[in-house]
């Protein structure tokens, strides 16, 4: 079955190239960005830009469906849920491609009740795939999956376009919460394309690589937090 799907390497490299093509990737070693966790970082990515590029978003949708079908199975989901806000358009395209119902999960509950955080119809034991644009430390995926579970769904898988893949705690925490993460590309894939195609100067790429190898250490040296809590 998996031989009918594009290889993970092709998906990762092509996704990285598309993100660079639309300037979704920013590197700034001298004036770092601040993550929500307080970590200082020379890297920034805005996957929301994808929605404005029809050919790229179609490719991203096809890759996502391909990853899900090959890594999980052809009949393993009953519905697709997007995480508010950035996950919603990606969830809609994947749901359309897979011919499945869709919901979206609010960041915060709207009042009381079991379904207070869910928009759309959800049923008991419905197998729901959570879709988001990216994951840094996995925290929001856990919150969204908990909301889906509270509403009665079975939410054990999530797919993102981009996974930072720099914090060891991310997969450990997701696994502990019974969530399997699927992704199209990581910072390592973007770095590999940047090196191969001479994007950015060598000093910047050196700083980016130093950050990816030891993010908390790099953050500390650049005025940011030295630990994360998920």
């Amino acid at each position: 079955m998996s031989s009918d799907f594009p290889s993970r390497q092709v998906i990762a490299e092509t996704t990285a190239k598309m993100l660079l093509e639309i300037d979704a990737v920013h590197f700034s070693a001298d004036k770092p960005f601040t993550f929500t966790s307080g970590i200082a970082s020379p890297v920034y990515i805005d996957c929301r830009k994808i929605i404005s590029y029809p050919r790229i978003r179609e490719m991203i949708t096809n890759f996502s469906v391909s990853v899900i079908l090959s890594e999980v199975g052809l009949e393993q989901f009953d519905a697709i849920a997007g995480g508010e806000t950035a996950g919603i358009p990606f969830a809609a395209w994947i749901a359309a491609e897979m011919g499945l119902p869709m919901q979206y999960v609010r960041k915060k509950p709207k009042g009381f009740g079991r379904d207070a955080q869910i928009e759309g119809t959800i049923t008991d034991n419905q197998r729901v795939l959570l879709v988001e644009d990216l994951t840094t430390d996995g925290g929001s995926k856990i919150n969204f999956c908990k909301a889906l579970r509270k509403a009665g769904a079975k939410a054990d898988h999530t797919i993102v376009v981009f996974y930072y893949d720099i914090f060891e705690q991310t997969r450990e925490k997701l696994t502990a919460d019974g969530i399997k993460l699927h992704s199209l590309a990581t910072w390592w894939d973007v770095l590999a394309v940047c090196k191969a195609e001479n994007h950015f100067d060598t000093h910047t790429l050196g700083q980016v690589e130093a950050f990816l190898n030891a993010p908390l250490e790099w953050s500390g040296k650049n005025g940011g937090a030295t630990s994360i809590s998920i």
Partner: protein, 114 residues
């Protein structure tokens, strides 16, 4: 005005980040109950912190955005703290109105500020 200082310290010690503003919201809600005479002031700080989180989502911010927002927030904390220390009801009302109006100012999400 220990609680106001504590809120500002929380922001500073947590990297002035989204997570820091989330902690400010929790501290402000707690302070509203424990120091209810100043509940309106803490509510405004909660609104200002929420404004940062709503504007940035879980996206990273640039150095300029981070520092600008911290400066604005610090000024508002100072305005409220000074008014409550002075204790003049008219002055407190003025400070609350001033910060209320300022909370309507939109967040500068311009990415040209890297």
């Amino acid at each position: 005005m220990m609680m106001f200082e504590h809120i500002l310290k929380t922001l500073s010690e947590n990297g002035k980040s989204g997570q820091a503003y989330s902690k400010v919201i929790k501290h402000s809600e707690k302070a509203m109950k424990e120091d209810s005479d100043r509940a309106a002031g803490y509510l405004l700080l909660k609104i200002l912190a929420d404004r940062f989180i709503e504007a940035t989502g879980r996206m990273a911010t640039t150095v300029t955005q981070t520092e600008n927002e911290y400066k604005i927030f610090s000024n508002h904390v100072g305005t409220l703290s000074d008014a409550y220390i002075a204790g003049d009801p008219a002055g407190i009302s003025d400070a609350l109105n001033k910060v209320s109006l300022a909370s309507l100012e939109p967040f500068d999400s311009s990415f040209s500020t890297i």
